[in-house]
């Protein structure tokens, strides 16, 4: 092995490929596929022989390289209009350029004046007398903190019931809340009204499910006048 490669310095298969291109001083728009593919495969072999964990993505790119290399050996095909087919490397080149641009952007970020590395802000807590600060707006929490909080609680009791919350369930909850809202604003609402308001097929299904769930939870009651009469929905317990 003649390459001076430090192990795990690569951030991924594209990073490795960029390295090989730079090392060989190759024009990125005109990559000699045979050379690059060979070196890439050599590197992967070396990683394997050292029993190093190789992310699956490295192997995916390896097969892409081999595929492009074999297409390069064929004479360029022409499509029906007689135009030459696009360079088989085009997509790969585009991807490499894009990745290279972001890699550069990353190093520019790192080169900035970074807080808590190059500059520091006021380190101590509030320079004001301590007061009860229970008032005020709630702003500085993100959705990630919320779900993290939920995760903290349930990790101690990892039960399927918690994991099973999905977006369908949340859409259902949303609709249940809406129905309860309508009922707290007025005494009753008709089934037809709720359905008419639902419009989309998806909404209609969720409305139906919401009503069933609310009845099951004894939160609402439904009454029907006669067999085909109007169905009216009331709160089980008036607010």
């Amino acid at each position: 092995m003649t390459y001076e490669i430090k192990l795990d310095i690569f951030e991924g298969p594209l990073d490795l490929l960029l390295y090989l291109i730079k090392k060989n001083e190759i024009d990125i728009y005109n990559i000699p596929m045979a050379v690059v593919t060979e070196q890439y495969l050599d590197y992967i072999e070396m990683m394997k022989s050292l029993n190093l964990d190789l992310a699956g993505e490295y192997l995916v790119l390896a097969s892409t390289l081999v595929h492009i290399k074999s297409r390069m050996l064929l004479p360029p095909a022409e499509d029906e209009e007689g135009n030459e087919e696009a360079d088989p490397r085009a997509e790969l080149v585009q991807q490499l350029l894009e990745y290279q641009a972001f890699k550069e952007a990353a190093s520019q970020l790192e080169g900035r004046t970074v807080l808590d590395r190059d500059v520091f802000k006021r380190g101590y807590a509030d320079p004001l007398p301590a007061e009860d600060d229970d008032e005020g707006e709630v702003k500085e929490i993100g959705i990630f903190e919320l779900i993290e909080a939920f995760r903290r609680i349930v990790t101690s009791s990892v039960r399927a019931e918690f994991l099973d919350i999905d977006t369908e369930k949340l859409s259902l909850t949303e609709r249940m809340n809406e129905v309860m809202d309508m009922l707290s604003a007025r005494e009753s609402v008709t089934f037809a009204e709720l359905m008419g308001e639902a419009r989309s097929r998806r909404r209609i299904i969720f409305t139906l499910l919401a009503l069933l769930e609310l009845m099951k939870q004894s939160m609402i009651r439904a009454y029907q006048v006669g067999t085909f009469g109007e169905i009216r929905i009331f709160l089980s317990v008036s607010a």
Binding site: R122, L128, A149, I153, A239
Partner: protein
């Protein structure tokens, strides 16, 4: 341009977690004479005092610290007033349970958190993040809780189905 050593002291005092003592500054700048450090800190204090600006460099609790000028306290209390209050961990956990398990009874939240949630729940109702959705028709007619429109606003969500799920979080961690 300020003398280098004095600038270093000034920066250290701003960034320090607690009032920074002359001893501690001496440890960080071992080549400097302890007396000289004290003299420079004193100069900083005088300069800020004479400048008559909004902040002062003061010796407090055995160290130096930047403070706001005492006379400006009314303005600063106002700042505290609008400062976005962070939810306590207890309130945040309670809110998370309401968000993900709603419509939910208090008894259920108590059960999940393993403690009585009356306090945090009250706070969430006050802040209008949680509301009473209705009552359940079972003995005792327990109150059912859910989240509010304001909850969606605060967390920048279009509707509840935009809440990320635990499954997604789990996938991210693997």
């Amino acid at each position: 341009m300020m003398e280098e050593l004095k600038a270093v002291i000034e920066a250290l005092v701003l960034a320090s977690d607690a009032p920074l003592s002359a001893d501690k500054i001496g440890e960080l700048i071992p080549d400097a004479d302890r007396k000289e450090l004290k003299r420079l800190a004193g100069e900083l204090a005088d300069e800020y005092e004479q400048r008559g600006g909004g902040i002062v460099f003061r010796e407090v609790a055995g160290g130096y610290q930047f403070r706001t000028r005492d006379e400006l306290a009314p303005w600063l209390r106002k700042l505290k007033g609008i400062k976005a209050a962070l939810l306590t961990p207890a309130a945040l956990e309670t809110l998370a349970i309401v968000a993900y398990r709603q419509p939910v009874l208090k008894a259920e939240i108590d059960r999940i958190r393993g403690v009585d949630v009356s306090g945090p729940l009250k706070k969430l109702l006050d802040k209008k993040l949680v509301r009473i959705v209705g009552r359940k028709d079972v003995p005792g007619k327990p109150i059912i809780y859910g989240t509010t429109k304001k909850f969606l606003e605060v967390f920048d969500l279009k509707d509840l189905s935009e809440l990320p799920t635990l499954r997604e979080l789990k996938e991210l961690q693997e």
